[in-house]
Symmetry: C2
Subunit: 344 residues, 2 copies
């Protein structure tokens, strides 16, 4: 298998959830590759949802790309949705630009630049709303795979893990991880919030309030409410959600799935963190080195790496018996059909 499946479980009603949020942190120059330019990162989550749902990034005038030209990981998630037939629900956890497909509104506002030390308004209220939604969804689905699209989200992940006392090193959508820029942003935010490494280890939602992003309390609240098998689909951003879940003392059936690009990123410590936290991790390798598409080959060189639940989407495809080759060919098909945006 190109991804190991669940050892002893075959879901009957699996569901993807994609949590969408903006944070002012993405506008720090050179911090995020999730958009052609920092200003355009506002559009990325909405466009990702549109691409997964319809095959077309309606809100973008040009193809949904990183500055390098590599395609958004939404094409991987779209491929999995098409191959598996698993439905996807989109959650607005605080967006500047709303998607043009149906989405769940959580009454959450976009996150602020974490350098202010005041990153997320009312994380407790957001968490409670997500828990409420999770309780409803948990009555319908027996396996929920939760991804995210949050440009700037590895920096907020770094901030939260530091505040909780973890030396979590985060990955990047750039081949060359701008670690120094992220560290500086986190340090400035910690100073402005009056907190230090580990000082909020018993108050994870306060850590989110100071240094996180609004995706985090939605993901953690969903896990709380769902009460069914849940897979966090993402890299080091979802590792930060695991640290929150752990600090809250939630006992749930949770695992994490990511791409080999994140798991093998030497600037991050994905596997070390998931091992230490004690959550099962699934790692999926789409084998894009064998792709005929240049933009996908760029993933092998460290562009993009993960996002929009791509790792979990591959896990779901493997779970449904789809081979790596079938998956890669579907990704190529999706990529080629969306690379000239039909609404532009």
């Amino acid at each position: 298998m190109w991804v190991d499946p669940f050892p002893d479980f075959t879901p009957e009603k699996p569901l993807f959830i994609c949590i969408l949020a903006n944070t002012g942190t993405a506008r720090i120059p050179n911090i995020s590759a999730a958009g052609k330019s920092p200003g355009l990162t506002d559009y990325t989550p909405a466009a990702d949802a549109e691409l997964v749902e319809t095959g077309n990034a309606i809100s973008l005038k040009e193809p949904a790309m990183c500055p390098s030209g590599a395609p958004t990981p939404a094409v991987l998630t779209r491929a999995s949705v098409l191959l598996t037939g698993i439905p996807c629900i989109y959650i607005d956890a605080g967006l500047n630009v709303k998607p043009k497909v149906p989405f769940v509104d959580m009454n959450a506002r976009p996150g602020q630049d974490i350098r202010t030390g005041k990153a997320v308004a009312d994380p407790v209220g957001i968490y409670e709303n997500a828990c409420m939604l999770g309780k409803s969804i948990g009555k319908l689905s027996d396996c929920v795979i939760i991804g995210e699209s949050v440009p700037g989200g590895t920096t907020t992940a770094l901030g939260v893990m530091r505040a909780l006392g973890y030396d979590g090193r985060v990955s990047s959508s750039f081949p060359d991880n701008p670690v120094g820029i992220k560290e500086a942003a986190v340090n400035e935010g910690m100073n402005n919030a009056g907190i230090s490494f580990g000082s909020l280890e018993n108050d994870p939602l306060r850590a989110v309030q100071c240094l996180g992003d609004p995706m985090m309390p939605v993901a953690a609240g969903l896990v709380d409410g769902l009460g069914v098998n849940t897979v966090l689909a993402g890299g080091t951003q979802m590792v930060s959600v695991l640290t929150i879940i752990k600090a809250l003392g939630l006992e749930r059936d949770v695992s994490i799935a990511t791409t080999s690009y994140v798991a093998n990123d030497p600037t991050a410590n994905f596997s070390e963190m998931t091992d230490m936290l004690g959550f099962r991790a699934y790692v999926a390798d789409p084998g894009f080195g064998a792709s005929r598409v240049k933009g996908l080959k760029m993933y092998e060189k460290g562009d993009v790496k993960e996002g929009v639940g791509a790792g979990g989407a591959m896990f779901a495809a493997a779970m449904k018996g789809i081979s790596r080759k079938e998956f890669r060919e579907k990704v190529e098909e999706v990529y080629e059909s969306t690379s000239v945006n039909k609404n532009s």
Copy 2:
């Protein structure tokens, strides 16, 4: 049984959906009792969703009541949710006031006063979005019960049925149905839209555009996309959705469930219409004459009658083996716990 169940089907994953919308039509004086005053009808759908989900009409400063003092039918739906454990999803089909619980945003705007003849913007886009959402939900649930909270909605129902060529007579949340006011509003809208009785019989979404409300294309689009057993939970407003479904030529597994108060309303013709249209109708009588609560006894005198999917909520309760007496007692409990609003 106090409601007949499905003749040959026991759902495993039932779901309530409550479609929420405002229309300027509700501000016509004396047309709707769904709010203490015409201006307050803007708050009614949001408060109904909050009451069903949390037991508390958060957005209202005073209890969710009609001018007469009878309680919103959301208390019936809340009782059913508590007794059956069936989850409920709320859809914003065009609201002036958003609920403070999670809800699905359909990118729809509130409806305009139908006297303008321009009632709903982009009903085709709304329909397509709802169909998209329905396809996802239909993969999770095997029986969807769709209610609505749309103050002024029987007048828009009248308008659409006339445009489609039906002598559909609509019910009212007032004991004394203001038929003359509704007729005048519909006639003015027809004149301004340049249409006449039956002139849009082959173009039901155009009828919605001229004289309907945005709940209608959401309900019809959901039915289209869901592809599973669907119960429209409502009175003559949902009959108008049946006329739209029929005119669209949709062949789906659809029935309708309402209260005995609507079915027995001599100013309306619920049963005649459902018989003629050829859809199975379920009628539920909560027996509020035996209630110790004055506000509920008022239902027996023609106040409120239906709304927020109350008829379908009773159908679901009966389907789950709940007796009429158990249901009535739970409604009394919900009513009494919410009648002094805790947030005021």
